[in-house]
Symmetry: C2
Subunit: 144 residues, 2 copies
DNA sequence: ATAATTCATATAGAATTAATATGAAATAAA
DNA sequence: TTTATTTCATATTAATTCTATATGAATTAT
């Protein structure tokens, strides 16, 4: 029952970009240094993020990444789901809309309740909120 | 981000015992048949459950298992955690009590919020509640 | 040209998952 | 007392997933 490093690193990566959202392009190398995460691993991760259109990229010298939209536009859920898939404790083949509650098993309902609770958390925290909390703490430069 | 089959089967197993909580001892073979789960795999699982004292067992012919306490006494959380460990999306080394919120990273706080939301769900559903829901649905004999 | 950087894909070791297998110990019933 | 049934204990294994590392092509500013 764990979110893998990909999902967690993705959030730290996006938060790093949000905190340093100055309009400049930030190379992945810089983020890897700050976050102490393998550069090549981060490259894989941001590739997925980039393909989803969450960031803009510029190749070559002086290139890098920046957020495609303002931090208010990104929820934790959007980012983590991109790397992890649905944040469901089980594979729920029955989509909530397709079946009545009564047609599903009681254990399936439990997993659905857990999923809903998780979604409620991650869909209501934006990068902007995390940036705000980060500055509020103000205890350590890149302790994300 | 999944609960493994052990945790899920454990819940179905305990729910099966709760539904059939007549005072008789139920062999694991019976449960395996009803739930269509490998008998040997279920044995491994109930061994852990038994060691935790959640069930009483009797060996030999006519033996089997039964709940050690009434279904009201078991929450989904107790059962699933037994097999899965903490239902936390990451390993949270900092126990909530040991550190001030401000001393932890903003991402750690997110994972903590997710954990709290999950705990809130699983700690407030008992086996008795699931038995009630099961009878309420009443659509299929062992569709757990 | 050169250095820096994204982009694309392949490879690999470690860990975890999900079982299956083997057999000993205990108990009721024949 | 034998037999069938059942829990209890532990070992093994195949498949999958995780967590990277590696190689190198394409692009761009200097």
């Amino acid at each position: 029952m764990k979110i893998s490093t990909k999902g967690r690193y993705a959030l730290r990566l996006m938060l790093d970009l949000a905190i340093n959202n100055t309009g400049e392009y930030i190379p992945i190398k810089r983020i890897a240094e700050r976050q102490e995460i393998s550069e090549k691993y981060l490259e894989q991760i941001i590739t997925q993020i980039s393909r989803a259109g969450f960031v803009r990229s510029v190749r070559g010298s002086q290139g890098g990444y920046q957020l495609a939209s303002p931090p208010e536009e990104y929820t934790v859920g959007m980012i983590v789901r991109l790397l992890e898939g649905e944040l469901s404790p089980v594979v729920l083949t029955d989509e909530p809309g397709n079946y009545e509650q009564a047609d599903r098993s009681v254990t399936a309902d439990v997993w659905q309740e857990i999923k809903d609770a998780i979604d409620d958390v991650v869909d209501n925290i934006t990068l902007a909120e995390l940036v705000r909390r980060y500055h509020e703490k103000g205890n350590c430069e890149y302790y994300i």
